[in-house]
């Protein structure tokens, strides 16, 4: 048992913290207000190799581990929740499926530029009637000759407006038991018939690019099938397992930001002749916040460590995501409470943290779905 980060992990933490403090945090409020995607930041992160952390060097990555990746998500998310979400989605949802399920040719073509930070990719799973319930998937792909013709609609797709390609799940047939066969297909965003609109007006993570995709007779060659054409469903479940670690790490980052602001404010704010941090009511809030963040971070590291050591991590990833997102909501809420009226003002940023963290309880599987995942894995 060893709770110490390695020298590389510490160096990555220091570098990303430094980078996020200088290059992301100062613009977070502006991107939140205008709901603009910080594409320039992503270019810089790409140059530093941040978009390729968990991928090997032969695919343009940095050869880092999942723990390093989780550390990076936390630090970026601490500076700006929206940027953190887009960063996590670019790696966990955009690039990882191609790394895990792609052919060598697909990896060279699609993964390498993503890992190098030259392009972004998206993952198109959610539809108006399907998210966690994949059985509701209505997007269809029909094999005609050597091409799939895809028709359907995807929604809430992160980074799609800046993506070179989207991995789309589509129904390609029915199994003998009547269940739908889901296939993952790599769809270039410039293919004829692909329409992407990014005008959602979101509550939080507003710096993150979120889009609706309409697919109308989109033709892709059958080489664009990702992985096993009959196992699209289990592939995206695996993809989401990994994604949950990053959403948990992002929750820890946002919570840490809110906590640090609350602690600083409590020490500076004088009422009744002393800083409010001297009042037990406030002290206990801060103690709870510090404790919950630490516990969540430990769970993130554990899930990441299991993944790095090729051990089953699905249950721990779900636990980390569930606990970290719910504790993050509590922490951000209490951070506003400690700030009192000032916390309700945008100027103090804590209200942004609360709006940002709310998504963590919803995206990549709601808290309810996490409980479902955990309950199945403990044998209910």
């Amino acid at each position: 048992m060893n709770f110490e980060l390695t020298k590389e992990q510490l160096m990555i933490q220091e570098m990303v913290r430094d980078f996020a403090e200088k290059e992301i945090k100062p613009y977070a409020r502006e991107h939140d207000e205008n709901s603009t995607f910080p594409i320039e930041t992503f270019k810089k992160m790409g140059e530093l190799g941040l978009l390729g952390i968990p991928f090997p060097e032969e695919y343009g990555g940095s050869g880092g581990d999942t723990i390093s990746y989780a550390i990076a998500v936390e630090e970026i998310g601490k500076a700006c929740g929206g940027t953190g979400l887009s960063y996590a989605a670019a790696i966990s949802l955009g690039a990882s499926p191609i790394y895990y399920f792609g052919t060598e040719e697909q990896k060279q073509k699609w993964l390498v530029p993503m890992a190098k930070g030259e392009t972004l990719g998206s993952f198109g799973l959610t539809e108006p009637n399907a998210g966690s319930d994949a059985g509701g998937t209505q997007t269809k792909a029909e094999l005609v000759g050597d091409e799939y013709i895809i028709n359907g609609e995807k929604q809430w797709i992160t980074n799609a407006g800046y993506a070179r390609q989207v991995i789309v799940t589509a129904v390609t047939g029915k199994r003998e038991d009547g269940k739908k066969i889901i296939t993952s297909l790599i769809v270039p965003t410039d293919a004829p018939g692909v329409k992407i609109r990014c005008d959602y007006d979101k509550m939080g993570v507003r710096a993150s690019n979120t889009c609706e995709i309409v697919l109308e007779n989109v033709r892709v060659p059958k080489e664009n099938v990702l992985g096993d054409p009959k196992r699209g469903f289990s592939q995206f479940l695996q993809t989401l397992d990994g994604g949950r670690i990053s959403i948990a790490a992002l929750s820890v980052g946002i919570a840490q930001a809110a906590y640090e602001k609350a602690l600083k404010y409590a020490k500076e704010r004088y009422q009744f002749g002393q800083p409010i941090s001297k009042f037990q009511a406030i002290q206990f809030k801060l103690a709870d916040m510090a404790m919950e963040i630490e516990l969540a971070r430990n769970m993130v590291y554990k899930a990441a460590w299991l993944k790095d050591n090729n051990k089953p991590f699905g249950k721990e990833a779900a636990m980390a995501k569930l606990f970290a997102s719910e504790m993050g909501f509590r922490v951000c809420n209490q951070a506003i409470q400690i700030h009192g009226g000032y916390g309700y003002m945008k100027e103090y940023d804590v209200e942004r943290h609360l709006r940002d963290i709310k998504l963590m309880e919803i995206g990549e599987g709601t808290s309810e779905v996490q409980r479902l995942v955990i309950s199945r894995l403990i044998g209910c």
Binding site: K7, E8, M15, D18, G49, S62
Partner: protein
């Protein structure tokens, strides 16, 4: 070109300093590369990229300094040397540090040595110039620009806000001032490669240095924190009386006039 950088591991400037028993407490504090040394490392890498050669970063300290050396390697330095004095010395001042560095450098034929203008902890600004003096080479302090053409060097030096242009030649030691460059972030591939780059660890014995050679010449009399800023006072009454009282207080209490 054979380039060396003198680097010190120091307290993070954002750390709160705690003094206990006349000593600064280091437990739990964050340590960083001395910020001025970061400019030196960046400049060394840029000079190497332009003129070729090798950048070696040297630090004196204990094994904790390996992290800062690895960071310098991750930024792009080629090799690192740690002169570990933990077992040999309890304290070390700038004259001792300069002696150790000069002993290490004397047979390395350096073309260019870069250091920070001061370390943000001790703040003496002496180590660099002393090393140059011991090696018998030219030095220029607080530089903000460095141009090398063959053996000729043109340096812009910050002199209390003004600039002085100096022409000199290699071999040369310079100390870096803020504004010399914008230090890069160590990239992810850089960090991963850093662990495979050579990091040599030496002790005083390896350099044939006796403990007496580096005995400190400085005696620390007292260590204390600056006094806490006390609350301001607002004078009351007629403006005329306030002015009178203010002048009076500046005379008698603040004793500034």
């Amino acid at each position: 070109m054979n380039i060396f950088v003198l680097m010190k591991r120091t307290f993070d400037t954002e750390e709160k300093i705690v003094i206990q028993d006349g000593k600064i407490q280091e437990d739990g504090a964050e340590f960083i590369i001395n910020p001025y040394d970061e400019y030196a490392i960046e400049e060394a890498i840029q000079v190497r990229d332009q003129h070729g050669g090798k950048v070696t970063v040297i630090s004196i300290g204990n094994e904790e300094a390996e992290k800062q050396l690895r960071t310098a390697l991750a930024m792009g330095a080629d090799e690192a040397v740690l002169i570990n004095t933990e077992d040999d010395l309890d304290e070390l001042d700038h004259s001792g540090a300069a002696y150790i560095l000069a002993e290490y450098l004397k047979d390395k034929e350096p073309d260019l040595i870069l250091a920070g203008n001061v370390a943000i902890d001790g703040g003496s600004g002496q180590t660099g110039p002393r090393v140059a003096d011991l090696l018998g080479i030219n030095y220029v302090t607080t530089i903000t620009k460095l141009e090398i053409d063959g053996n000729n060097v043109k340096v812009v030096r910050d002199v209390e806000g003004d600039s002085e242009i100096i022409e000199t030649s290699l071999p040369l030691l310079v100390t870096a001032q803020q504004g010399l460059n914008e230090p890069r972030y160590p990239s992810l591939p850089g960090i991963m490669k850093a662990k495979k780059k050579p990091l040599e660890e030496l002790e005083l014995d390896d350099l044939d240095i006796d403990e007496d050679d580096v005995e400190t010449k400085i005696e620390t009399v007292e260590v204390f924190l600056p006094p806490q800023k006390s609350a301001g006072r607002i004078l009351e009454g007629e403006l005329k009386d306030q002015v009178k009282e203010l002048v009076n207080l500046l005379h008698t209490e603040a004793k500034v006039i």
